[in-house]
Amino acid sequence: MGEFAYVAPRSVADAVGVLQDHANNGRRAQVLAGGTDLLVQLRGLDKAPRTIVDVKKIEETNRLDIGGDEIYIGAAIPSAILNENEELKSLLPGLIESADLIGSTQIQGRASLGGNLCNSSPAADTIPAMIADRGICVIAGSGGEREVPVEDFCTGVGTNVMTGDEFLLGLKFPRPPANTGDAYLRFIPRTEMDIAVAGAGVSVTLDGSGTCTAARVGIGAVAPTPLLVADAAAALVGTTVDDEALAAAGAACSAAASPITDKRGTVEYRRKVVAVLCRRAGAIARDRALAA
């Protein structure tokens, strides 16, 4: 058990050291970014003492790099800051939209992409968008750094590939090629302040004639983990992303979904709506690609 403690290491090495030390001694440590999931959990079910390792003071988790080939987003940057970055917004509008959907203005003042991903909720809004945008997780640990594609990161409801001495440094995205557009849509019963009942992120790249040459589709809240739906992407590639292709992509999302009925929605509802969202997000992504 032990006591509650709070530490805010200033370097990756220090953070890994603290995590490793705790892991080796069977003591509990938990990484803190914006805290919008963690503090709710501390108050609710899981009140057991631990060391809270605040990773916001580390340069690598706060860095935002928009390079010629690659975009790096520090794991702990609050979504409000991402949303204020016009360049980022024009490059990956779907991803930024997904971050901008998290909670309220207040929540966005703290909530990070890294926290959204590491919390590993099936309904996390940014994960399908990150999958669509070919995101790569940069993970630091005692063995050094490793990279994992976002679609392979979550292993179940609330679980992921990281070990006890690891934490997420940031996310890398290939800079989108010309004529590429992305979009993310989710469904919630209210207009704000809800957890997704279903979500879909789509990225498409078109050629000069408007034919889709590459596509990615990620879906959320319809399976134990967010999913990359290859069949949905395949339904788009080679088409002009017209209504028919979008309907086929939507149907592929419904087929890939294995939802549950809970307080937020039913199996039937989620299956239907994920298709609708894929279609609508696909149309937005296409229009953005055409405008790009």
Binding site: P189, R190, T266
Partner: protein, 752 residues
């Protein structure tokens, strides 16, 4: 009867006297009271929805460092059955068992024990050390199943009340009630169309933003002082006195500012526990509920099943109406099914009707009053069925309501004849309203419905004191939830004829002002307002007689005009008028301080009717509903402070729409509420709603000097059916049940 008069202050909307403190963070709410040496109390709650409590052992908790008191059901006296309180009342023996379970836990979250410790963390750890032995029983969760003769019983001693013969077997049906008139069969025979349906609505919570909180301190003499957020500190005192078997005189209750109640803060949860803990510990004890506790353990309103049958002629005349209502009481008797039954047909003149109501125990929290308690559920069913009648006979829904509208002289279904009422005026106003005459936007549907609430009077007291400089202090005992201090000030200013700015209104504690029933039932501006007006009249009488003495006249030779004493018409005297300030200045020489008072049990509250309509849009692919516009039209009698009346109408509309669209208690099979937080108990947020248009109709209440009717409760009633009827209009599909959640709508659309 009050005519349409021009008033100077009544009918204006000045800034409230407590306003500055409320926009600067100075105002003290329930959780803001801290005392030296204070402990923190926490409650252990049942993890079972239904269980026999075989034993509770708090000794290990009590032995922990920092823990100063621990209590369970055994520490509370047994309480005799009997009614307490006005709107939030019920049987005090039940309230006692709700405050702390005795032999049975009747819902998930039912209080089983409590501790007081030096910190919240220690108190919470101490709860883990309390040993409770439960024998779990099957939970009874569905109201219709609960009524079955072979249902598991919550209370073996519950025999259905009001049956023609005393039943020989106990039942979960705590009581039944019937209201009837005319010949139902004959009425249905005369009908050209008949509509029949069953309408289900789950439990919904008041959702006030401030959780329940109190701080209690008991001194060595055994005298307690309790600060709490409450709609009625006098009734909290009465309940605490009965629940603990303490003398009223040993309990002093001070109402803090209150962060919303809507009926939910008319009954005690924490206060008796805090007093007992403080008594045991010999130190002050503060208790604050978490949001989760508020959802799990404080009064929602009843979930309901209503069956309605209406017969009407092709000209719209309703020939017969029948209703069967079953309301969930939660763990103890007291569902608001009686007011539901009394209000269901109230807006209409119907010759032949029958309504049967059932108050049914289920393993859910004990319900508490919620804005127009009982009316929204029943009236939703009726107003939806009426909408179907209008469609079948091809009549405008407002015209249909006008054909049947109750008016002055109509005998209310619950007995008395209505005095002047404003229902027809509301329908007429709706018919002419620009939002009604404009076309329904593309893709949307329009819904119309009526609302009603009786309003209540009950007991109030008020004192009015005149300061040396002629400024005025009004002292009364109703916690101000929505600006009532300003309304009292306006009525006092108007009556006395002094500027509003010279009047200050205070809410006294139980020892500094006279008894007042709860702020609830839309009674405050009406009944306490009446007391304030009468206390001002007392002041005027005294001022007249002091002026008369000064001038050497008889009292009846002096009149009160525009805030001054003047010689009555025809009285020949060369004197200058004496203002309130003049009389106050000379008070030492004319009999000492000037103090007026009044106390009363107000009658003739005056029903408030409404007509609401709204345009709602449905996304046919997701079932999402968007409220494009909403209009509330309501008879306020006389709006003392129009901005606050509008505020009541807008707030009630928002609550009604929330209930209609998304709010619901969701239970798992074990009787555990699955959405005990604001993330999943979805009250409307700012971006869910449009501006809410209001029109105040003023048909003065003949029983109030300024014509006031209560306005607080009616606004929540109509929006439920407005939403249902608008969704029907938009989609062509009738959905009987609420909430109109996206999955429910999409499922209904795809059944077609």
């Amino acid at each position: 009867m009050a005519e349409a008069v021009d008033y100077r202050y009544v009918g204006t909307s000045p800034v409230r006297p407590d306003g500055v403190d409320k926009v600067t963070g100075r105002a003290q709410f329930g959780a803001d009271q801290n005392l030296p040496n204070m402990l923190h109390g926490s409650v252990l709650r049942s993890p079972h929805a239904h269980a026999r409590i075989k034993s509770v052992d708090v000794s290990k908790a009590l032995a922990m460092d920092g823990v100063h008191a621990a209590v369970s059901g055994a520490d509370f006296p047994s309480v005799q059955s009997g009614e307490v309180g006005g709107e939030g009342g019920g049987d005090v023996a039940d309230i006692a068992k709700n405050v702390m379970a005795r032999d049975k836990a009747l819902y998930h979250g039912h209080a089983v024990a409590a501790v007081a410790a030096t910190s919240v963390e220690i108190a919470e750890r101490a709860l883990d050390a309390i040993e409770v032995e439960y024998e779990p029983l099957p939970p009874v969760l569905d109201v219709v199943e609960a009524m079955a003769p072979d249902a598991t019983l919550l209370d073996d001693n519950c025999f259905t009340k009001n049956l023609p013969e005393k039943p020989d077997k106990p039942s979960n049906i705590a009581s039944v009630m019937v209201l009837a008139r005319g010949d139902l069969d004959a009425g249905f025979e005369q009908a050209d169309v008949v509509v029949e349906g069953e309408y289900r609505i789950p439990m919904a919570h008041q959702g006030y933003i401030e959780p329940h909180a109190c701080t209690a301190t008991v001194n060595e003499e055994g005298k307690a002082t309790v600060w709490c957020c409450t709609q009625g500190h006098f009734e909290f005192r009465a309940m605490t006195s009965k629940i603990l078997n303490w003398k009223i005189g040993d309990l002093k209750f001070i109402a803090s500012e209150i962060g919303g109640g809507f009926g939910g803060k008319t009954v005690v949860y924490l206060e008796p526990v805090a007093v007992l803990l403080s008594k045991h510990a010999g130190r002050p004890v503060k208790m604050v509920m978490s949001r989760e506790e508020v959802f799990r353990a404080t009064g929602p309103t009843s979930g309901s099943v209503c069956r309605v049958k209406i017969g009407a002629q092709n000209d719209g005349k309703i020939t017969a109406a029948k209703a069967w209502l079953a309301y969930e009481a939660g763990a103890f008797a007291g569902a608001p099914v009686m007011p539901g039954a009394m209000s269901i047909f109230a807006p209409y003149e119907i010759e032949n009707f029958l309504v049967e109501g059932h108050d049914v125990l289920v393993n859910k929290p004990k319900v508490a009053a919620y804005r127009a308690p009982g009316a929204p559920q029943a009236m939703h069913a009726f107003e939806v069925a009426l909408d179907d009648i209008a469609r079948q006979i091809g009549m405008d829904p407002l015209d249909l309501r006008m054909v049947n509208a109750a008016d002055e002289g109509t005998q209310a279904p619950y007995g008395p004849k209505f005095p002047a009422i404003g229902f027809k005026a509301c329908i007429e106003a709706a018919k002419k309203h620009p939002n009604y005459t404009k076309p329904v936007p593309e893709g949307a549907g329009r819904g119309v419905a009526a609302g009603f609430w009786f309003n209540i009077g009950m007991q109030s007291s008020a004192e009015v004191r005149i300061n040396e400089d002629g400024t005025v202090i009004v002292m009364e005992g109703n916690p101000d939830i929505g600006g009532s201090r300003a309304s009292m000030g306006l009525m006092a200013a108007e009556t006395l004829g002094v500027p509003y700015e010279q009047v200050k209104t205070y809410i006294g504690d139980t020892e500094s002002t006279g008894f007042c029933n709860v702020t609830g039932g839309s009674r405050t501006t009406f009944a306490t307002g009446l007391a304030v007006v009468q206390a001002c009249e007392d002041i005027i009488a005294q001022c007249k007689s002091r002026a008369a003495a000064t001038w050497g006249m008889d009292d009846d030779q002096v009149e009160w005009q525009d805030g001054q004493a003047v010689p009555a018409p025809g009285v020949n005297a060369d004197v200058s008028p004496l203002s309130l300030a003049d009389i106050a200045a000379s008070a030492p020489k004319t009999g000492g301080p000037i103090l007026g008072r009044a106390s009363l049990n107000a009658q003739g509250a005056g029903a408030s009717f409404s007509v609401n309509f709204g345009d709602l849009k449905v996304d046919p692919e997701t079932g999402a509903v968007e409220v494009l516009s909403f209009t509330g039209i309501q008879d306020a009698g006389k709006a003392i402070h129009p901005a606050f009346v509008e505020g009541q109408m807008q707030g009630g509309a928002a609550q009604g729409l929330g209930w209609a669209l998304n709010e619901e208690y969701i239970y798992d099979a074990d009787g555990v509420m699955e959405n005990a937080g604001f993330l999943d108990y979805r009250v409307p947020v700012a971006s869910d709603l449009p501006m809410i248009d209001t029109q105040i109709v003023e048909v003065p209440n003949p029983s109030h000097p300024y014509g006031v009717r209560g306005v607080g409760e009616t606004p929540i009633v109509a929006p439920l059916a407005v939403a249902s009827n608008a969704v029907r209009d938009a989609t062509g599909v009738r959905i009987n049940d609420l909430p109109l959640s996206p999955p429910r709508i999409l499922a209904a659309l795809s059944n077609d």
